[in-house]
Amino acid sequence: MSEHPGLTEGNGQTPGPVASFDDPHMRPYARNPARVEKVVAALFLLGFLGFAAYGGTYWVNGPNELQALTLGVGLFATGFALAAWGRYLMPQGPFSEERHTLAASDEEVAAFSNAVSERGKAVFRRRGFLGALLGLGTATMGVVLAFPLLRSLGPRPGKGLDVTDWKPGSYVMDVTGRRITVDDLEVGGMMTVFPEGFVGASIDQTMLLRPSTAAFTTMPGRESWTPQGYVAYSKMCTHAGCPVGLYMEETQQMLCPCHQSLFDVLDGAKPVFGPAPRPLPQLALYVDSAGYLRAQAPYDQPVGPGFWERS
């Protein structure tokens, strides 16, 4: 070992001399330590007062804001005093401390690795059965620990992404569970609606709009879908699934707040701006003999953003 000089220096065998207060390095950083000491003392006192006031405020169940203020004053003043103490009143140095070389010599490394591997082999050869059991247990544990990770991915969606709860004849309901009649929306009105029995279900949320009093055609083949000017589109954006709840009545556009996709209400909710790749699916409506708005059929395509198996 003696050929490594670092090992013999500063290893506690020969302690160096304790620095004396006459040493210029031991002087505080501040030019006027007495004055700084007063400032630090005042800060400690302020911190004490803050903590005491916090305790008192807490004791009498004072307002939260006052508790926060007093605790904040206490913490800030005490912390600042500590920092100032260390900064201005501690010896300014610089000091140096010798350290031995951290790296082990090649011989030491070889001897250690030899000892470990030889001894380890001997131990396992003697208790092979226990070693196998140890491997079995830890391997099982590793597999089992992955279960919560897989489970956190949630259930398989199955058909849940393809179909909503809108059925042929579903009554259109508002968020309070009231059936919507054909008289409920003024021209220029809007409402978030759900199928009866599924109020609040996120995949079913639908924007019911009334741009006019007469039926209009959003797309060829959908002539009968807009009775008396009512039109219904899925509220889930086809881009990322955000609720498309911003209905610009004058320009007859729907805006998605997340990425500014813009859909043309009168033109089948085709996207006219933004990242949405498809029009919002349209729900076919009809008015029954009692005047209630109902769904002719389920959505004819999956609602919301695209997914891997989307047909």
Binding site: V73, G93, D184, M190, L209, L246, Q253
Partner: protein, 280 residues
């Protein structure tokens, strides 16, 4: 030279004190100040002969207002909307829109337009209350009043539920006006305006008439009770935010808050780090 640098470094200490103390004050005094003003009591005088059970009563201005209203209309509005209010190629038809529509646009200062822009902006109204109602009375006299062309709503907030109003606001209004009522951009240069200066009459008028790009919330969508609840939430809660966290920063969301947090938070931490770490 060394002396100058030493003095500059010593200045860091008061800087940290000022910034730190300022931050503590910033985030606590706002809370203390915000907690003090009590919500103001509903104004009972706004009710004109209605019972307390009616959250909203609709009434037209007196018939005597029609004639002076016509004079005001011809002098200030007819150049764009036409002498018969049927509209021109510069401005839309007003016949059949009702008194509430006219009152909203004129009392918020959006009409008469100062400059032609994509969307009219709120500004100090040109007409006083009586003149505004006179113009509204004249336009309303051109067509019958209906739920699609309502008269002036008088809102009684005394029985309104703030919590119901908040739920309805979040469901119907917050998408565009944001949950703090600060307003936000829409598409094509349009925007949802801030609600922080709207009066209770203007809030009710806007909901019932759907000015500009705003959808219309008729009586089949929201009852008078629900309109009054939303109105109470807007004029009593949104317009007097409590801001228990300190500064509200206009309620415009994460951009402003992140800016202040980075500037003052990280800046303050950097000052402290400079002060602590500087040794030689």
């Amino acid at each position: 030279m060394k002396d100058t640098r030493r003095r500059a470094r010593l200045l860091l200490m008061p800087a940290v004190v000022v910034v730190g103390g300022g931050l503590v004050g910033l985030f606590t005094s706002g809370a203390l100040a915000g907690a003090s003003p009590a919500p103001k009591a509903p104004d009972p005088s706004a009710m004109a002969g209605a019972t307390a059970a009616d959250p909203i009563t609709y009434s037209l201005p007196p018939a005597s207002y029609v004639a002076p209203g016509e004079e005001l209309f011809e002098a200030n509005c007819a150049s764009c909307h036409g002498t018969d209010a049927f509209g021109t190629d510069r401005a839309p038809n007003l016949v059949g829109l009702g008194a509430a529509t006219v009152d909203f646009w004129v009392s918020t200062g959006r009409m008469p337009l100062a400059i032609s822009s994509i969307q009219a902006v709120r500004k100090p109204p040109r007409f006083d209350r009586t003149q505004t109602l006179q113009i509204a009375a004249f336009v309303a006299s051109l067509a019958p009043t209906s739920s699609a062309a309502p008269a002036i709503p008088h809102v009684n907030l005394s029985g309104a539920s703030l919590s119901d109003g908040e739920s309805l606001f979040v469901l119907n209004c917050a998408a565009c006006h944001t949950v703090t009522g600060a307003g936000d951009a829409l598409a094509d240069g349009y925007f949802a305006p801030s609600l922080h200066r709207a009066t209770k009459t203007q809030v009710a008028e806007a909901m019932r008439t759907g000015p500009g790009n705003m959808p219309r919330f008729g009586p089949g969508t929201l009852s008078d009770r629900q309109v009054a609840d939303v109105d109470a939430f807007v004029t009593e809660a949104l317009q007097h935010p409590q801001n228990v966290g300190g500064l509200g920063l206009g309620g415009v969301g994460a951009v402003a808050e992140g800016f202040v947090g980075l500037l003052f938070g990280v800046g303050g931490i950097m000052l402290v780090a400079f002060w602590l770490g500087d040794r030689s």
